[in-house]
């Protein structure tokens, strides 16, 4: 039963107030993209055992989507950040590195 801090309203809330939204930082491919690109966008999932970036919506609160960096093996949360970005901000990357020195970065 996770707790996450919504960066949009500042509340630390429990999982039942949130809605999970799958892998973060996917790049959308639309018409004009190759079959492989489109398949990758819709289906190829990192699903790592370890550091993972994911989407959450503060569904029972401010209604905003945000992103979280979390370890899927321990459920440790490295940080949360607004959804309006295509890659994790430097502060989040630093927080992960501090806890997981072997982490090779978002691939």
């Amino acid at each position: 039963m996770l707790t996450l801090t919504c960066p949009c309203c500042g509340m630390t809330v429990e999982e039942t107030e949130l809605a999970p939204g799958g892998e973060a930082h996917l790049k959308r491919f639309g018409p004009g993209s190759s079959d492989a690109e489109f398949e990758g966008y819709l289906f190829a999932r990192k699903n790592p055992r370890g550091v993972h970036f994911e989407r959450w919506r503060h569904a029972y609160g401010c209604g905003k989507w945000f992103l979280a960096a979390r370890c899927t093996a321990t459920l440790e949360v490295f940080g949360t950040y607004p959804a309006q970005t295509t890659e994790p901000p430097a502060s989040i990357v630093a927080a992960i590195k501090a806890r997981r020195p072997d982490w090779e970065g978002l691939k």
């Binding site: 039963m1 491919f29 489109f38 321990t74 959804a83």
Partner: protein, 985 residues
């Protein structure tokens, strides 16, 4: 026999006698008793039968670890099976009954005596019952099931209520013994918000029974003082009768509070389930004494040494006149002293150690008790009650040295810290050689959201088993207790017990797992501790192995020739002890089992005989059958009335989402397959939404409200989902687009006025021009209609002249009634969802969830006209270009008409020639919607058929039930008013 002593009993109130029944027999106890102490006090040692062999079993423990003494408690709507007597507080009038026997507890024909159960060792059922094949299901399994099981089956709806509660704290202390209270006091003084839970009704844990001194005081006095201090702290909270059931990620702990168990029917909740979020958790959960494995260690009267002590001191109950103590450690000698103090007889202490010495041992010797060193039990004599023990050399193979008569055996195999909560969420254990137990490994704790340790174990739960160590470990005051010498890691008696003895030495009492079973598992290669557990069922009974796990592990390790920590432990799973399903469900039952969404007109529907249909969490009237009228007839009447004069539908559940902003048009063009940006203000347009996989996900009419705002109608079940979908794209993909959305579904009550007389009704209400010229099909207007603030949408889902009118929800009921009144002279009559569905099918309109099922794309449904060819992109467009979708060879929407006018069954398939490589009959289509059309007087259907639109007029075979084959012709899906003459008037 077991009896109530004339004096003593720190927990009972002799001025308050309580009556209860056991198997119909009237018995007496006192306030403060547990069911177990009251039963023992009334000389009821035999309380149940074991699971597999139906052996007679007695009370063995005094707490949550009790494996045997489970009873059925209560009657009727308050009956509960498998109730643990050692943790149930006695109350006046309690009805209890023993379990798992027939015909009676004393005489159970299911019992298997010593020779027969030889044929049923661990896992015997994996090796037998295989022939003939059908015999397992029809012969063997029913026998196994009937003889297994345990408690009786409750038959009634639970009469009690339950509730949940949340709490937040800096520190949750689990366990109100002296270690827990010490930790709580320290944190409380430091200003932390502290919650302390104690699973029993009493504070102080074992210390008041086991003695010693804390901070110069008797333990009981010290405990009372600390409780007072904690109670006075505004940042402290104490809760007794509350057990920590499970520890979960991010500091989430479940507490199971017994509120009204002992006061049935007083209106309070029976149980309360606490969900605590704690910054830190201290587990001060104490330790549990282990039995020893010797032949006959399950005969009623063989008990844990600490339990014998508890019964004497806490409840003034003597479990037996003559008690032989069997031990591998010093602590059990405390039991001898307690018994002697109570004037009872201790014929001997059998100590497995060769040279036991120490303060407690000397004290016992000084009282004239024989202490037999290096001795063990060869065998317990007796059937339904201990009659004596045969003494042997612990080092030998069981040759009997002497026999000692006794009616109680108090055994102690040492103590195991309660590490369950520590382990629930990933905390690891280490092996403590000195105490022969697993204890929490502080270097591998369970970790929380921040990755740091979230649990600390203190006191006996941390392996600090003796009072002074326990308090020191918990940061408490100095304490003194009798010094103890080292224990010996003895598990089985005697050490060289031959098969015949190991066959009667029980490890898991409830599941009848014996030493020989574990050894058999090891021999057969079930070497992992999890394999052994599952193969033998060791530790899988309702006590979850609290007494048996470590002993079994030790025996497995010995059989495998490896050290215990190499073997490791099984996983500890929540809950710590079983918790009621009622508590888990909490308040969610009956009326508030789930939210029920009501429209503003709900009460009217209910009062007017609506037959309800659940639609998501809403309930919508399916139809309004009149007295004596069948559902089918009611639907037909509603359809005919609507088609011929005037129908009214509560359409309030339709989703209504406003989308506004400079980029709203662009956004809706991405969301819908059609072009919405070009929709003129004042107009309506039917739109389709697909997901990124190209599949149709929702549909509805979009309304252009103003230059920069649109109103999107969604399906009834879809409003929240579609609103979330919109916000997802706006916040996470196109965050620089200037668009705001608002879900206004519940702001408006919406009524559809449908049928040839619809306009007359609106004209009668008055206030707005609803003429064909002023308000043509697919337009809308805003104004005051009959005095109500209204938006009128001239749209139709039935093919009739139709208006959908939205008014503020608070005025919905008044508006509905006003319409009914105004429409009376025109034949106005409400209709439900089924009539709605039939009428839309007559018109060939698709229904999300019927024609679409998550695998259908708009192109399949002949909705190509609603897909803009001009747009470069919309959600789902790229997916629809994939080879399997961009393909004319798909199943596509058609109408279906049976040759004989009958109604095709729901969901039936059209067969094609031959079979596929897996031997399945080939199919070429299926029915998606099928109804009797009262308008046309025959069955009509829609379906998806392979290349259907190219095959008009072909007849397909639909095999249905009992060999009947329906034959239906492929036709145009629009069955009624193809040219739309009725809706465009």
């Amino acid at each position: 026999m077991s009896t109530r002593l004339a004096t003593g009993g720190r927990l009972i109130d002799r001025t308050k006698p309580l009556g209860f029944r056991f198997n119909g027999k009237r018995l007496k106890g006192f306030a403060g008793d547990t069911l177990a102490s009251a039963l023992l006090g009334a000389d009821q040692m035999l309380v149940g039968r074991s699971f597999k062999y139906h052996r007679p079993r007695g009370i063995i423990a005094s707490g949550v670890e009790e494996p045997n003494a489970l009873v059925g408690l209560g009657t009727g709507a308050r009956f509960e099976p498998d109730q643990r007597t050692t943790t149930t507080e006695l109350f006046d009038g309690a009805e209890t009954s023993s379990q798992n026997h027939w015909p009676s507890l004393e005489t159970d024909i299911g019992v298997l005596n010593n020779w027969a159960y030889r044929f049923l060792p661990a896992g015997f059922y994996y090796k037998t019952f295989m022939f003939p094949r059908a015999a397992w299901k029809h012969v063997f399994e029913p026998i196994v099931r009937q003889s297994a099981g345990l408690g009786k089956v409750p038959t009634e709806r639970d009469a009690d209520r339950y509730e949940h509660a949340y709490a937040f704290c800096d520190l949750l202390v689990v366990g109100g013994g002296v270690a827990g209270l010490s930790a709580a006091l320290e944190a409380g003084r430091a200003g932390k918000r502290v919650i302390v839970w104690e699973q029993t009704a009493h504070w102080g844990g074992r210390s008041p029974v086991d003695g010693g001194q804390i901070d110069g005081m008797a333990p009981e006095d010290w405990v009372a003082g600390v409780l007072e201090q904690l109670a006075a702290m505004p940042n402290g909270s104490l809760r007794a009768r509350c057990m920590a059931a499970g520890l979960y990620d991010h500091g989430y702990v479940l507490g199971y509070e017994s509120v009204g168990d002992a006061t049935p029917g007083d209106g309070r909740p029976r149980h309360r389930l606490w969900r605590v979020r704690a910054g830190q958790i201290v587990t001060a959960t104490g330790a549990i004494e282990r039995p020893l494995a010797f032949a006959g260690n399950d005969v009623p009267g063989v008990m844990l040494a600490s339990a014998v002590r508890d019964y004497v001191v806490n409840w003034a109950v003597s479990p037996g006149d003559r008690t032989v103590i069997v031990t591998n450690n010093d602590d059990a000698y405390r039991t001898a002293l307690v018994l002697l103090d109570a004037g009872l007889v201790v014929p001997a202490v059998l100590d497995a150690r060769e040279t036991p010495t120490g303060e407690l041992i000397e004290a016992v010797r000084a009282r004239g008790v024989r202490v037999l060193a290096g001795r063990g039990v060869a065998k317990v004599k007796g059937g339904k009650r201990v009659q004596g023990v045969q003494v042997c050399a612990q080092a030998g193979e069981g040759a009997v040295l002497e026999e000692i008569g006794c009616d109680c055996v108090a055994m102690s195999g040492g103590w195991s810290p309660v590490v369950h909560l520590w382990s629930h969420c990933g905390g690891k254990l280490l092996w403590d050689e000195a105490n022969a137990c697993f204890r929490p490994d502080p270097s591998r704790p369970p970790t929380g959201a921040d990755g740091a340790a979230m649990v600390r174990a203190v006191g006996a739960a941390n392996g600090a088993l003796r009072l002074p160590e326990a308090l020191a470990d918990a940061g408490g005051p100095p304490a003194v207790a009798a010094a103890e010498g080292p224990m010996a890691p003895v598990w089985v008696m005697p050490q060289g017990a031959p098969p015949a003895l190991r066959f009667k030495a029980f490890l898991d009492y409830q599941n009848d797992v014996k030493v020989s079973d574990v050894q058999l598992a090891a021999r057969e290669g079930y070497e992992s501790v999890e394999h052994t557990k599952r193969y033998t069922t060791l530790g899988m009974a309702t006590d979850q192995g609290k007494l048996s796990n470590i002993n079994g592990l030790a025996i497995l390790s010995d059989a495998l020739g490896q050290a215990i920590p190499v073997t490791g432990t099984t996983t500890f799973r929540p809950p710590y002890t079983p918790i009621s399903f009622g508590a888990i469900a909490g308040e969610a039952r009956g009326e508030i089992f789930q939210p029920l969404r009501r429209t503003p007109m709900h009460e009217w529907h209910e009062a007017n005989g609506a037959h309800w249909e659940p639609v998501g969490l809403w309930r919508r009237p399916y139809s309004y059958p009149r007295a004596g009228e069948g559902l089918r007839d009611a639907v037909n009447r509603e359809i005919s009335n609507t088609r011929n004069s005037l129908g009214m539908l509560d359409a309030s559940t339709l989703g209504k989402i406003v989308v506004k902003g400079p980029d709203a048009g662009k956004f809706l063009d991405m969301l819908y397959t059609n072009m919405m940006s070009t929709l003129p203000v004042g107009k309506c347009r039917y739109g389709l939404m697909c997901n990124e996989n190209g599949f149709l996900m929702d549909d509805g009419v979009v309304v252009r409200l103003s230059e920069d705002s649109w109103l999107c109608h969604t399906t009834s079940g879809g409003a929240d989902r579609i609103h979330g979908w919109m916000e997802d794209w706006l916040q996470c993909e196109w965050w620089d687009w200037k668009v705001y959305t608002a879900n206004l579904t519940e702001q408006f009550a919406q009524v559809a006025i449908v049928g040839p007389n619809a306009r007359k009704l609106l004209e009668k209400l008055g206030g707005m021009d609803v003429s064909k010229e002023a308000l043509p099909f697919m337009t809308w207007a805003e104004g005051e209609l009959g005095g109500f603030r209204a938006r009128i949408f001239r749209i139709s889902f039935s093919g009739e002249l139709s208006y959908e009118i939205a008014v503020p929800a608070s005025e919905g009921m008044a508006f509905w009634k006003a319409c009914l009144a105004a429409g009376e002279e025109f034949g106005a009559m409400p209709y439900g969802t089924e009539a709605l569905h039939v009428m839309r099918a007559e018109k060939g309109f698709i229904m999300i969830g019927d024609e679409s099922d998550g695998t259908v794309i708009p192109q399949d449904l002949g909705l190509g006209w609603a897909i803009s060819k001009k747009k470069e992109d919309y959600l789902g467009k790229r997916a629809q270009q994939r080879s399997f979708m961009d393909n004319p060879d798909r199943w596509q929407l058609v109408g279906l008409e049976t040759l004989d006018g009958s109604v095709l069954p729901d969901g039936v398939y059209a067969v094609a020639e031959g079979h596929n490589p897996n031997g399945q009959r080939n199919v070429q289509g299926r029915v998606t919607s099928t109804y009797f059309s009262p308008t046309l007087g025959k069955g009509i259907a829609m379906g998806l058929v392979h290349r259907g639109p190219d095959r008009m007029g072909e007849v397909l075979d639909f095999p249905a039930d009992a060999g009947k084959v329906f034959r239906a012709r492929i036709v145009d899906p629009v069955f009624y008013d193809k040219d739309g003459e009725k809706q465009n008037v």
